[in-house]
């Protein structure tokens, strides 16, 4: 009796799997190629990185387990890391929210105009982030000698007498960097907001007008924003992930390393130890911290937006 029962359940499980495969097999086949690459190049690396952060792997020798030593060294001994962490947090706390609200404001304003003007304005605002590597043009604008565009104009207007070292003087570097980062920050979230504004149910505005909405600001606050919450959440993810990943723009214009490590971010620190010093275990610890910061901030902000 008992034996037959287990046999029965075994055969039903087999049948279930078989039926499941018949039913969903094709679905899994469709997913398989992407899924495989995604796991190999995006998920497993995160896990490996976390594991490696507890080792002293340096490419040449077989990795040995060192416990929390990498993390202790990061937080207790590595002054540059502390500086990089501080810079990363400051830069993202400024550029993340500012770029988010800039994208929202411009998308809203762009949406006020007729389709043809809207198309043109969208292109104008999206072009900098669209054209990728062209941020190097800021080398010409911020160039340290009098041939730099900004210095040239200021000297020509007699506002300054000697060229300002926009990219190497620690007094100005930070402001210059923020300007460049914001300049190219209107990316995917900007487009999502434009789409969001465009798709708000038009009858809501009429209903709102009847109910006493008096001007465009009230309309924005009471009708438009609440109905595009999903886009806002998506835009927040894009802005946050982008702002913590800033690195190449800074090294492109301000050099690597920048003067006094003034604009040294976690991405730079990671590249320094990973690509130059080959201290892979240590670099993995930096990567893990960056990963935790990115995921943590995203989760936190999304939860807050969800409550609104």
């Amino acid at each position: 009796m008992r034996i037959s029962k287990t046999q029965q359940s075994k055969s039903t499980i087999k049948a279930k799997i078989k039926r499941g495969f018949n039913k969903y097999g094709e679905d899994y086949l469709f997913i398989a190629p992407y899924f495989l690459l995604f796991i190999v190049f995006s998920i497993i690396p995160v896990v490996i990185s976390m594991l490696m952060s507890f080792t002293n792997y340096n490419v040449l020798e077989f990795p040995g387990f060192v416990g929390l030593r990498n993390y202790m060294r990061l937080f207790l001994e590595d002054k540059t890391f502390t500086l990089a962490l501080k810079n990363t947090l400051i830069i993202s706390i400024i550029t993340g929210p500012v770029s988010f609200f800039m994208a929202l404001l411009f998308a809203w304003l762009v949406n006020e105009f007729n389709p043809r003007v809207r198309t043109l304005l969208t292109l104008m605002f999206y072009a900098p982030s669209l054209s990728g590597g062209v941020y190097l043009v800021w080398q010409l604008i911020l160039s340290n000698d009098s041939h730099g565009l900004l210095n040239g104009i200021l000297i020509d207007l007699n506002l300054i007498y000697n060229p300002i070292l926009w990219t190497t003087d620690t007094k100005y570097m930070f402001a210059s960097a923020i300007a460049v980062i914001l300049w190219m920050s209107l990316g995917t979230s900007f487009l999502a907001f434009i789409a969001g504004f465009k798709n708000v149910d038009q009858t809501l505005y009429e209903a709102g007008a009847v109910d006493g909405v008096k001007n465009r600001w009230q309309e924005l606050w009471f009708i438009t924003l609440p109905s595009m919450k999903p886009q806002l959440m998506f835009g927040a993810v894009m802005s946050i992930t982008g702002s913590f990943g800033i690195g190449d723009v800074i090294s492109g214009i301000f050099g690597f390393p920048s003067t006094d490590y003034h604009l040294h971010t976690l991405v730079h620190h990671l590249q320094d130890y990973g690509n130059i010093r080959f201290e892979m275990g240590y670099a993995s610890a930096i990567a893990t911290i960056l990963f935790i910061i990115m995921i943590g901030t995203n989760r936190f902000v999304n939860r807050m937006l969800n409550k609104l």
Binding site: P45, G133, G148
Partner: protein, 293 residues
Amino acid sequence: MSAHEKKRRLKKRHKKINRSPVTTFFLFLFIAGMGMFMIFPLILIIGNSFKPLNELWIFPPRLLPIRPTMRNYQDMFTVMSDSIIPFSRYLFNTLLVTVLGTAGHIILSSMCAYPLAKKKFPGRNIFFALIMMALMFNATVTAIPNYITMASLGWINTYLPLIVPAFSAPLGLYLMKQFMEQIPDPIIESARIDGASQWKTFWLIIMPNVKSAWLTLMLLSVQGLWNMGATSFVFSEELKTLAYALSQILAGGIARQGVGNAVSVVMMSVPILIFIFTQANIIETMSSSGIKD
């Protein structure tokens, strides 16, 4: 088209509620000013690319050339002729990586998005949660383990590490899945009842209906691949890309500045042109991009 136009005009009329013309005027001024700031550096580089070398360093600096010349564009192909690798090789590499990477990304993401959006297979929610998580971190985090993976696959110093990871960019899959969810189920069901296989349904019913989404994936993927500079995966000069060549030209100092500007213009014009032609489709795709909990 005329019906479309009418619909648009109607929409416009709706929007005129609650608008004071004075505020509209000042808002337009504001946004025009901001737009100028955004576009100014790009105009500068276009202007510079047409300047003869002696005009690049005049004081005070000028935005537009006095005597425009095509010289910089012609020089593009000769400036690196004394190096072992001709300029056209860098251009070819970038084209190859961009075209293959983008094609693979569109096909694999669409195939994967279809069951995710329309089927209820077990494991679906976990998989989508992983995609959502991947949107929340940057590729720099995975750079080191990826190098080890590429090395153990024997892919170092080939085109593969530049192309293959681009196939599985999470943003593309996410946007495609969100967009496919809007396709009405009856269309798919009727195709299945007519005897179309899943593969056929996918190619003949789904793909034509998500044209906007794959144009968007194309733009995003081209944007990433076209601008990809030096990587640690490739060390042979003949496998390097245009963006890398650009940084080398710019590093070549004052004499190379003009050519550098011309290359920059070529670099930026490709994604901008794609965006101009696909703009409406991209906005349409983005309208389904929202994160719904």
